[in-house]
Amino acid sequence: MTVQADPRSDAGAFAGQSLRRHNGDDYVAGRIAYTDDLKLPGTTHVVLVRSEVPHARITVDTETALARPGVLMVATGRSLAEHVGPIPNAMDPAPTGGQALELRVLPVDKVVYVGQPLAAVVAETLQDALEAAAMVEVSYEPLPHVLEAEDALAENAPLLYESWGSNLMLAGTAGQGELEDLDARSSGVVRGTLRTGRGAPAPMEPRVYVADWSTRSRRLTWYGTTQAPHPLRHSIAQFLGLRERDVHVVAPPVGGSFGFKNFGHPEEYLVCVLSRLLGRPVKWVEDRASTLRYGARDSRIHYTASFDTDGRVTAVSCDLLANHGAASATGAFGMAFAGSLAMPSGYDVARFRCDWRVVVTNKGPWSPMRPFGKEAGVLLMETIMDAVARETGLDPLEVRRRNWVKPDQFPFVTATGLELDSGDYEGLLDKALTVLDYEQARREQELARQRGRFVGIGIGFEVLPEGADIPGALIGASDISTVRMDPSGDVTVLTGVTSPGNGNDTAIMQIVADRLGVLMDAVSIIQGDTDLCPFGFGNVSSRGILTGGGSAALAAEDVAAKLRGVAAGMLGCEDPDRIVLHDGFASVAGEPERALPVAAVAHALYTVGYIVAPDIEPTLEATRTFKMANIRHQADAEGRIMPFSTFSNGIYLSVVEVDVETGIVELKRHVMVHDCGVMINPRFVTGQFTGGVVHGIGAALTEEVLHAGDGSQVSSGFKTYLLPRANDIPAFEIQHQVTPSPFTPLGTKGAGEGGVACTMASLLNAVNDALSPLGATVDQLPAVPHRVLEAIRGVGR
């Protein structure tokens, strides 16, 4: 793997360096305690009874199960409805014209997908609970079911939620204008359909929740796999009718999140009500089949685009139909909204319109999953660019050069109303071409074709709106950090952002260490505890370093200013600004012999403050908020808001070979150039993108959740839902470009979601480039072998 960092960075002793993770040894040695490692005394165990049918009215008989040894409670939707109301929605579709969601932790009278939890057995041991769960008797009164979005919109389709009167959860339009005269105004038009298969989150660690209601303190402590401890605390308090202060959420380290561990899942709240009823800790551990029941993508886009002879795209119109599966309180429907806003990507397309609809069906619910629907915009535009290249005879790279936003156009307002902060897309491509000799690759492709081999070169370009602030929801573009220095000079960072395991905690420590001039081992960080940490929005929308790092930098600067003042007094220096904090010492600039250990300065302020710093408030602690300045929630004249604050981007070039006898696609080269602004730790950025790319390869080639006609899910484990493995993946060729954000104190843009969408697009385009001599086209991902072979064999039919 090639990793080349751009010299521009948040220059300091540590920031900008590829340090190793501060607690990496703990992960490798197995010393990290995940939620399941937590053993609270008196813990009881929950096993869920799940629906065997896709759609039915239910009656649940719990009597036999309740009589089993060790069983403490068998809860049903009906029994719990006496105690709690619906799950608070993480995002609510109703205010924007969508349906009212009133989802319960367990359904009261009907199930809407196979595998839906419908009763919860709580017992002394997991074994007791498992045995009793098998004894819960469920009578199903079956209803017709519907699995595909088009079918769900049909006149007589069965309704999942009768009160809605249809299966349409929410619809909207991004961009505007009537585009019906596309043909007349331009020299050519391309039309097509794109389909993405249903993907599922696959963190190594499934979800695990433990709720502990203390009958003494009348407080609930919740431990579990969550990205967003503070928003979850708010939500749990609302659900249980408690004061927010009486809920304490603790998020131990997680084994991967990918958006799945944001909040709003029924079991997060179920354990709370069960614990409160029993007065004992209640634990639920998810199994793999359950994880895979949550989905994303599963969308269809019809598109029409017009272009001029010079390859400039003049207008795009599209219709996005998203199959959400069952409804969910997680706000996952927002993926369709975000996907439409991410259009038309980084391209300067004057006239654009996307009509989008989110439809419910009898599959498991959507869950938030990176890149949160934005792959739709990227796939759409990258498909259109390649189609225009074919129609005009221009090279696909040239078509992109002619269409994207140029460096001197920033800030650039897209057709959907987003203000792209900065970028250098041309620079990305130039950099990619220094790695992949394009002319040579095209010559090799031609030679391969002459030998009957089908090699393809594909390009993908992504612009990802990040740093979201959603009006009305606990997803904000700000975060709070506290930085505190002890009398011994040790530094603690308390932050509201969490880490999904990618090292952003270490990167925040780097930022703080630099500003305080201390060594890394003097710094520690506390995340994921609502009693200890200031409020934060957790880990969504690429915010860990963006707002978490930003606020930590501000707080550290405040503490540093105080240290400089104290040190100036102690060193007999008139001007605190002349004090340099570096390498664990405070010294007078240019006079290194006039120096004191930073720890001694701290100790002095705490112990002899009246002597050395009589006019300085004796605290070495600061709490600061960083808020993105470019969010706009007041609608503009065209009714558009600006809910995203940064726009990371990237370009990929992929070389594939398709075995046209079997449809197998082999990825031979994958060149990736990213721009997430300033990198605090290039190693972590590279690691994050590596994961994103593997996720994208899965979405493009192997991963697809399938259902049988009877509604059962046939992809239930890693032998039937195929994740890429190390030997499916070539050595990545990763480059970074740094175009700092003008809106963040550190110039960062967020690297959390990069690589997935871009890889999907570059692989789709590469496969179609490989198949082009046959006249075959794949328009559905994943491009699994039978789909590729069908495309080849369908030619001329």
Binding site: A289, L706, V714, L722, N727, D728, P785
Partner: protein
């Protein structure tokens, strides 16, 4: 976690194992390596009262007896890979073991006997042991019996081993001078085999093919034996005849296997290239 209560037994002799299994065949599952049965029990798809684990029954020896390799039923894939007898006399079996999906963990745990008895269409072993002309040695309440040829596999996930029997070993004649080919098509590294073709080709001193055997795996509920001698026996076998044999293979698949990883139509479509690639390994076209 296995949710139902069960008895775990690990007999130390074949007789003891047969007694256990034949006591309640319908409520007993036998563990070779357990890589299939244990996850099935974990998921609640199987809830036997008794699990009989053969790991202590002394069935893991690999021996050469008069040009026949005796492979104990609980020999792991790792054992096949490291056995000098297998390496020398059954190179195709060693190659199959090396290519098992799942890597080191599965190779050290999964057993050849377990795979044969499970008779899953999406596994490597059935077609390979079939083309190698293996005989299964079975122990049951009525004593020993032998099964070979197409009787080894009766249907998808149904081998010729009866519920009250134990597979004790496979007896496989040495490959000798026969050339072999094994081609496996799978979707990606973690995928089960979608279609496999295993072939053995005997030639005489002058290079003429005297006998050729081809068995397809994955494409049907049971291994498909293809009679290719009519096409390949004789001299001057070139690409055309290899291709004709592969076409014959494709025509031999009557009810293609269909599952979540690939529809039957796909398996049918790839049988021809898969068979051709296997035969091309055994018949390198130096003269073509």
């Amino acid at each position: 976690m296995i949710s139902h209560p069960f008895a775990y037994r690990s007999p130390e002799t074949v007789a003891e194992a047969v007694d256990l299994v034949s006591a309640a065949p319908d409520r007993t599952r036998v563990l070779g390596g357990g890589t299939w049965v244990v996850p099935e029990c974990n998921r609640g798809e199987s809830s036997p009262d008794v699990l009989v684990d053969l790991r202590r029954a002394g069935l893991d020896r690999i021996e050469l007896v008069d040009d026949v390799v005796h492979v104990g039923a609980t020999s792991t894939y790792a054992a096949l890979m490291s056995s000098s007898i297998v390496d020398r006399h059954l190179p195709m079996l060693a190659a199959m073991a090396r290519g098992i999906t799942g890597g080191g963990q599965l190779q050290s745990q999964g057993t050849i006997g377990g795979s044969v008895v499970a008779a899953r269409p999406q596994s490597d072993a059935p077609a390979v042991v079939a083309v190698l002309g293996a005989t299964l040695l079975l122990a049951g309440p009525q004593g020993e019996r032998r099964v070979s040829g197409e009787a080894m596999f009766e249907g998808a996930s149904r081998s010729g081993v009866r519920p009250d029997e134990i597979l004790t070993r496979l007896e496989i004649p040495v490959q000798g001078a026969a050339r072999w080919g094994y081609y496996k098509l799978k979707r990606s590294a973690s995928s089960w085999p979608i279609a496999t073709a295993a072939c053995l080709v005997h030639r005489d001193g002058s290079g003429s093919v005297t006998d050729a055997r081809l068995v397809l795996g994955g494409v049907s509920g049971t291994p498909v034996h293809v009679n290719i001698n009519s096409v390949l026996v004789g001299d001057g076998v070139g690409p055309d005849r290899v291709d004709e044999a592969a076409r014959l293979a494709a025509a031999s698949v009557h009810s293609p296997w269909d599952d979540e990883l690939a529809p039957g139509s796909y398996r049918l479509a790839v049988t021809h290239p898969v068979a051709r690639r296997s035969l091309a390994m055994a018949l390198p076209q130096e003269d073509a």
